[in-house]
Each structure stands twice: as structure tokens, then as C-alpha cells.
């Protein structure tokens, strides 16, 4: 059978070493665009000038008034930065879960992590949110992390107990069940605390619109810790691709890698869910788009997902801000609008490949 037609070598659209600079440039361009557009504020082309003006040793007369500068710096900037952090973390976590569970269909939402984190955050909201403001460490991300971790562990054990390790559909189904359970408990908690319902619901639908630098400061330590940990494990995620037995025979402590990666991805996801609410599909669209363009090695997928995820969510946030001015389309609606058809397409191609 050596006569099988040799397809052209795995050459991408562009040379492999260019992908990272391209991704970084795309993310930077998206960030800039995100700061430039908005319903109120200065003319778009003045924004880059105003930003340059703020650099040390640079003086440009941008014609931006102090009031407009406040719109740029205190309203648009934290929102765009938060969108970038949330997008990169969700994409990175999605890629990591896909690697560690050897299942291309999972993401933070389908595994129930987001719902669990949402439940954890809701509990903090109902227990006197105002009272926690004086705490040195905000309990919101930690409570979300606890909820997310319980959810992913539950999903994993239910999924593997009934489906065995090889069944990718069972894991997703278990995630759906865990999500339903967490959502039900959340609804129950909310019904008993009707005073916070409005607050929680606006948060559930994706809450980037009220982002402030405080939110950015709140998530940044968790996002950094999670990102660095997952980046370090990108090579081991490639080793895991040959399965548990062979990875073990190659000298990898599979359980240790699995635990560390799941904890790191869940920590990042939970922290961003705690500040941004539930924004679906980023964790599945972005890694798969990266996989299609730049190859299936996690050595590539992991770093590229960070920048592609940031760019994707910053861009996805833009139509929400300008479409229905002055009210806003929640970003979770925008990502679902693109993500749901994409997911169906993915399911279809996987079926066809069987």
C-alpha cells in the first residue's frame, strides 16, 4: 500500500513561523479598532493620536478634549482590555481542555465549567456583595473557581464512568447535564434572593459593557497564572495526543499533567466568567480556526489561541456597541450567533470523517 498518493506536504497558507507575528498583529489591530469606535467620544482617527500623545517623549496635538480622553481611557480602554483578556483566556482554556481530554468537541461551556463558575459567582452575589468589598482578596473569582472545578470534575467522572475514555460524545453529554444541574441550582438560589436577580441576569448575558479598570485588576493575576501554566504545558499536550498508555510509556505522568492543566484552565475560565458573565463558543471557535489554519500541534495552537481569542472577542464586542445604539446587544448573543453554526459545521465534518 505504499502507492497511496502522497498529498502535498503539510504546508500552510503562510510559513509556520509567521503565524505568531500575524496573530499578535491582529490582536493589536483589534484592540486599536476597539478603542477607536463607539457611540460617543472623539472622531475615530483622533484616538490613535491621543494614545501616541500619552507615550513618554511624544507630543502630538490630537485635538481630543479631556472629557473625550476620559471616554477613551476610563470607558473604552478597560472594556477592550477586558474583552481581550476574557477572549484569550476562554480560547486558551478551550484548547487546553480539548488537548487534555483528547476531545475536540469540548470547551469551557460544554464541560459545565462556565455554569459551575456562574453558580459560584451567583452565591457570592446573593451573600451580601457589598459586604465583601473591604476584603483584601475578592471572593468572587475564588468562589467561581470552586464552582467551576466541582463542575469539571463531575463532568469528567460522569462522562468517563458511562462512556469510557474514548467516547467524546459522552463527555459532552455529561457536561450538558452538569450545566443543567448548575443552572437549576442557580435559578433556585436566585428565586430565594429576588433582590439581586437584575444584577445577576445582566451579568449572565455578558457584562463587558460596564467594565472598569477594577475588573481588569481583579482578573489579571488569575489570567496570568493560568496562561503561563498552560503555555508551559503546550508540549506535554502534544505528548497526550498519542493517548494515556503511550504518553505513560514515554515517561509522562499523565495524571499529573491532566490535573495541572484542568486546574489552570478552570482557574482562568472561572476568573473571567466571574467578571464578564457567560460568553459562549469562544473556547471552541478560536482553537478550531487556529487548528485549521496553522496545524494541529498544541505547540502552535496554545500560543496562537491566546492572541486569536483576544482579537476575536474584541471584534465581536464592536457590533454589540454600535448596532442598537443606545441600548446594547450582549456580547454573549454575538458570539453565539457566530458560534452555534460553527459548532454544527464542526459536528458535521467530524461525522463525515468517520
Amino acid at each position: 500500500m505504499d502507492t497511496v498518493q502522497a498529498p502535498s506536504p503539510a504546508k500552510g497558507i503562510i510559513p509556520a513561523r509567521w503565524w505568531l507575528p500575524v496573530a499578535v498583529a491582529t490582536a493589536c489591530a483589534a484592540l486599536l479598532l476597539g478603542v477607536m469606535v463607539g457611540p460617543a467620544g472623539p472622531t475615530w482617527w483622533r484616538v490613535p493620536l491621543a494614545l501616541l500623545d500619552r507615550l513618554p517623549l511624544v507630543t502630538i496635538d490630537s485635538g481630543v478634549t479631556p472629557r473625550e480622553w476620559i471616554i477613551i481611557w476610563e470607558i473604552r480602554m478597560p472594556r477592550v482590555v477586558l474583552a481581550a483578556l476574557v477572549g484569550s483566556t476562554l480560547a486558551l482554556s478551550g484548547a487546553s481542555y480539548q488537548g487534555v481530554f483528547r476531545n475536540p468537541l469540548v470547551d469551557p461551556y460544554l464541560l459545565g465549567v462556565a455554569a459551575g463558575a456562574g453558580l459560584g459567582a451567583t452565591v457570592v452575589f446573593t451573600l451580601n456583595r457589598a459586604g465583601t468589598s473591604s476584603w483584601i482578596i475578592d471572593p468572587l473569582p475564588l468562589s467561581a473557581f470552586l464552582g467551576g472545578l466541582v463542575a469539571v470534575v463531575l463532568t469528567y467522572f460522569v462522562g468517563t464512568a458511562f462512556g469510557g475514555r474514548r467516547s467524546s460524545a459522552t463527555l459532552v453529554l455529561a457536561g450538558v447535564a452538569v450545566t443543567a444541574l448548575a443552572t437549576a441550582v442557580q435559578t433556585f438560589v436566585l428565586q430565594r434572593n429576588t433582590d439581586v436577580i437584575r444584577q445577576v441576569y445582566s451579568w449572565i448575558l455578558g457584562r463587558l459593557s460596564t467594565a472598569s479598570w477594577d475588573d481588569v485588576r481583579l482578573v489579571i493575576p488569575y489570567v496570568l497564572l493560568s496562561t503561563v501554566t498552560l503555555l508551559i504545558h503546550r508540549r506535554l499536550l502534544d505528548v497526550m495526543r498519542v493517548g494515556e498508555d503511550e504518553a505513560t510509556a514515554l515517561g509522562t505522568s499523565v495524571d499529573r499533567v491532566r490535573i495541572i492543566v484542568v486546574i489552570a484552565a478552570t482557574l482562568g475560565t472561572s476568573a473571567v466568567v466571574a467578571v464578564s458573565g457567560l460568553i459562549g463558543f469562544v473556547g471552541i471557535i478560536v482553537p478550531h480556526a487556529v487548528r485549521l489554519l496553522a496545524g494541529a500541534s498544541y505547540r502552535t495552537i496554545i500560543p496562537l489561541s491566546i492572541f486569536a481569542g483576544a482579537a476575536f472577542l474584541v471584534l465581536a464586542d464592536i457590533p454589540g456597541r454600535i448596532l442598537q445604539n443606545p441600548s446594547e446587544t450582549p456580547i454573549g448573543v454575538v458570539t453565539a450567533f457566530f458560534g452555534a453554526p460553527f459548532f454544527l459545521l464542526l459536528l458535521r465534518t467530524r461525522q463525515a470523517n468517520r
Partner: protein
Amino acid sequence: MTSLAFDSVSVRYGDRAALAEFSDTVKPGEWLCLIGPNGAGKSSLLRAVAGVVKHAGEVRVDGTSLRFRSAKRRAQLIAYVPQTPVLPDDMSVREYVVLGRNPFIPHFGQETKHDWDIVDDVLKRLDLGDFAQRHLGTLSGGERQRVVIARAIAQEAPILLLDEPTSALDIGHQQQALELVDRLRREHGLTVVSAMHDLTLAGLYSDRLCLLHQGYRVATGTAAEVLRPETLAEFYGVSARVHHEPDGTVVVIPFRANDAGGRR
């Protein structure tokens, strides 16, 4: 060169004993071939040595028990080619073969240039240089087997375990794969333990055969000593003639039981 000793190695899956009290010593540079019917415990023994399943008893490499070795150190000593390796369709050959360098890379580290140099060298020596960027999903059966062996060689371990390395191959590719293993064994001074179903090939390539039956070691020795019609009848339940070629090759030829002696 490195020796491999088994001291009462047992493997259980739940209640079922797959391998019972296996003891043997593989001399440095020797090729031991495990034979026996399906379920005899050949794969279990190899999996135990590779660290994939738990076992009782001791496995010693150059006299030191593997029990006190980390998974990483074990993988530096032992390369394992499983019966049905997992070959992700969208992984390139080069990405796959570099996985063999895993035991030498720290947990938090990445491959160095040295690792990639070894990979490229192995690919070249196994005539896989042109395949480096090909995806595993596009390879034929013979090519896949060579790529898996390439990964094991990139591991630079002195002991090579092969579980049914030729079961998916046609007769020509079986010979190619085994010739390759034999060549590499001589070049690198490898100690080889393989499990094989084709008794003629097993006898042809290995130094010594070891016959397992229901988890027990029932016979060991050269091909001429182990491959006897009455032994094969007893443990395989097969009616076979054993033919000795002038060059020492032992050929096992099955025949139709109801046709015994009738056809010549």
C-alpha cells in the same frame, strides 16, 4: 549493552491473572521473542515493562529494579512500540517522532535543537526524510510502522519492546520492518523483546523464543527447540508440520487436520 531480568512478574486485570510469575533473563544485545496464542500474556508482560500496567514482582534493568525508577527514567531505558499505536491523523511525522525525546525534556521544558537534530537524523536513517512534513493520516501501513519504530529509536533507549510489530503488514513489509529492527539492533546494540504471532518469522529473527500459555511460561529456547509439532499442537491447538531448512531456519506449516499426511 543492557540486560533485562524478570523476577516473578505477575499482571492481573481485576480478578483475571494475565501473567503469572514470569521469570527470565534477557542477555545484553539479545532478541527475545514471546510467542503463544491470543491471551497468553505476551502483551501484558510488555505493558508491565513499559510501565503501562501495574505488576507484581521485579523487572530489573542491568540489575536495578524499575520499581525505584521514575516514569521518565524508565522511558530513557525502555522504548515501547504498542500493538496498535495511536497515530493522530493531523500530526506530522516529525512532530510524532520528536515525542520520543519526551523522557529527556524537563516537565516545563521544550525540545532543544539537539532533540530536533536527533529526530532529523533518525528520519534520514530510516529513509523517512521526505516524509517529515507528511501527516500521519496520509501514510500507508508500512510507512506507519516505520514511523512508530522511528519514534522508538529517537528515544535512544537501550531496550526496545515491540508488541506485534508486523501484524498489520503484508509479507514484504513484515520482512522490511523486521530487517530494520535487526539492523538497528546491531547498530545500537539494543536488547529487544518482541511479541509475535508469525512463528516462522519469530524464529528467523530472534535469538531465543519464549512460549507463553495462559499466563505461564511453558517453553523457552531456540526455534528448533521450541517449535515442535507436539508443542504447537498442545498449546496452539494447531496441526502443523515443522520443516527445518538447511540454513537452520525453522518453518511452521499448518495443515488440514482431516487431511493428515494425505498431501505431500
